[in-house]
Symmetry: C2
DNA sequence: TATTTTTGTTCCATCGTTTGAACAAATATA
DNA sequence: TATATTTGTTCAAACGATGGAACAAAAATA
């Protein structure tokens, strides 16, 4: 009932009266093998339900055709969409991916990196956890000779290929839009400034305010992990303050959802009293009541480009120049900020 | 700067004047190796930053210490929590996991199974996609001699270890509760009945209605994929019908969220006009306004038990008896159904 | 016909680790 | 002291696939 033992090239060779090496060459379309034998071998391979042994070929070739993908949370449309597109692209090129999540924890991220290196992936495509400031483990990837590509959350000092959007410009798009809607007191629920993308969003926000001659109030820039509870708590804090903002720009959609809940619970009119803009274009932003304005980060593009960057590295291993791809952000205006 | 070549047991052996095999045995705590040598080997291993070559040892041992986990969606608290607990348990026992998602698609699921088999995982722990009716690929896992454990969505005919909750009883809990809140016209937004767990929920729902002498209306049992749009659309459909239900029991929280949105958009008082109960205890159910009553499926327990089932199989490979673990569901009553 | 080239295959070492068997040295038992 | 047992290590053969070198046979060129 159960044909326990899997067949190997040896079995095929035995049946056909060939050597294993001839079979291997036939399967790999070696030019010196006759068409006749190739055909016979391939037919027999199907017949015996032969599955190449990944471990042995990877060991021999020193190449696993596996790529590790590390993302902070899998439970986010942006990240899962990026992964989906990485996978699509890599599958086309004979690679399989192994997806792991850090849950935004530095310790977990280190562990995942170790696991991936242990399994001997050919490369790692990653977006860093919020907690991560020590780049030691990423250096380790590089020093092991494993390819590394970063997307979204990546640090320049690592000096590796990177794909992301122009975060500085995103903030300008948001502020410009809010100003056009007659908002004058714009607060920013930010991510931690030790992460480059959030630092850039903060910088863009400040520069844009300055551009429009608006006050920059330090207590209107509040950094957090951007979880839903963070959004709720910080929004409450902003409402309790002596002077309320008339617009809130949140550096993540999940936190924006939390902020929205608090606004609704306090019967605040959106966008009339306070306008709200999120970041990432998570699907739920179009489903809330009111729907939330946000920034589209082109997750499909990012995934595809990150995969291509990896493939490029693999085909040109000597190339030293680092490639940084920065995409244009796109503002999506919805009910939560459309006053006019 | 980059110490390209990774060290092997050969390198350690060379430095210490031993053979590779002695080093291997020392690292694996073989009883016949002296403590002195073990110590020396282990120190040198650290010094040379030795990382065991996973590929070669897996090849030699015929065991990869890798477990594949297939879930329908990663973007769900239930599933990601199960995976987290599987991982925790397996890591403690020297296994690493590879997480993959089917996106509820049969084709994707088959592809993931093939990838996992190719990588030669020691076992697969899976919850089946909504689409899956053909069990051929799961049979393939078994016939390859790879261990298989199913959780939540699993079919009995596969005859493998299973961990899940008592879905039939869950429906009784929900209906009993709704009846206690004076609901008399209870509709059911269901999953597809070709999936065992949804079939059981439907069966439980019907039997419970019968128990309370309530009418079973066939047009009040509507099957779907239970996505957010499904919940929205079906709720709208129920509202448009000549006779409206006074309670809706949704077989999934995401769809329940969609239903809630539609109820709110139509200014229907919850739970007074229509009470709502979901399924799975996704975190957002406690955050919505009103919060949603739901069923706790004990995702942490399920993950732990599924991992243990796998570990058991590995340590007793000959055991033929199949283990089905059925946990007790727990009803969590929140605002959306608390009339009294 | 003698020689070179091409073609199709086999031979063999290799990737890094593991493991049973073999063996010498040290220790215990008679 | 002779023999049996234990201890610590080496030897050699795997695991399955790969690929360069070697080699014989067939075909092409002189």
């Amino acid at each position: 009932m159960e044909n326990k033992k899997k067949s190997t090239i040896k079995d095929i060779a035995a049946v056909l009266g060939l050597t294993p090496s001839a079979v291997s060459k036939a399967l790999n379309n070696h030019p010196r093998i006759s068409e006749k034998t190739k055909l016979a071998v391939k037919e027999m391979a199907v017949e015996l339900d032969y599955q190449p042994n990944f471990l042995s070929s990877a060991l021999r070739k020193g190449k696993s055709n596996l790529v590790g993908v590390i993302i902070p949370r899998v439970n986010s449309h942006f990240f899962s969409s990026v992964v989906e597109n990485i996978e699509k692209m890599l599958n086309l090129n004979g690679y399989n991916i192994i997806m792991t999540q850090s849950n935004e924890l530095y310790a977990k991220e280190c562990q995942e990196i170790d696991t991936l290196l242990k399994i001997q992936v050919d490369g790692i495509i990653a977006s860093m956890a919020n907690e991560t400031t020590n780049l030691e483990f990423y250096e380790k990837i590089k020093s092991r000779g494993t390819e590394l590509v970063l997307f979204d959350r990546g640090e320049e000092e690592l000096n590796v290929d990177y794909v992301g959007i122009d975060d500085y410009k995103s903030s300008h798009l948001v502020v410009d839009h809010l100003v056009s809607q007659n908002c004058k007191r714009i607060a920013h629920i930010a991510g931690f400034h030790h992460i480059r993308i959030y630092k850039e969003r903060i910088r863009g926000y400040k520069d844009a305010l300055e551009k429009w001659n608006l006050d920059i109030q330090d207590n209107w820039i509040i950094e957090s992990n951007l979880r839903i509870e963070d959004g709720r708590q910080i929004m409450q804090q902003l409402l309790n303050a002596p002077e309320r903002p008339d617009a809130v720009y949140v550096a993540g959609d999940i936190a924006a959802l939390g902020a929205l809940q608090v606004l609704l619970e306090n019967n605040i009119k959106i966008p009339e009293e306070i306008a709200l803009v999120g970041f990432s274009d998570e699907p739920f932003t179009s489903l809330t009541q009111p729907s939330i304005s946000t920034i589209n980060q082109h997750s499909d593009q990012i995934g595809k480009l990150a995969a291509e960057a990896f493939l490029n590295r693999m085909s040109h291993p000597k190339k030293k120049t680092v490639n940084r791809i920065i995409l244009e952000p796109e503002l999506i205006v919805r009910q939560s900020s459309k006053r006019i």
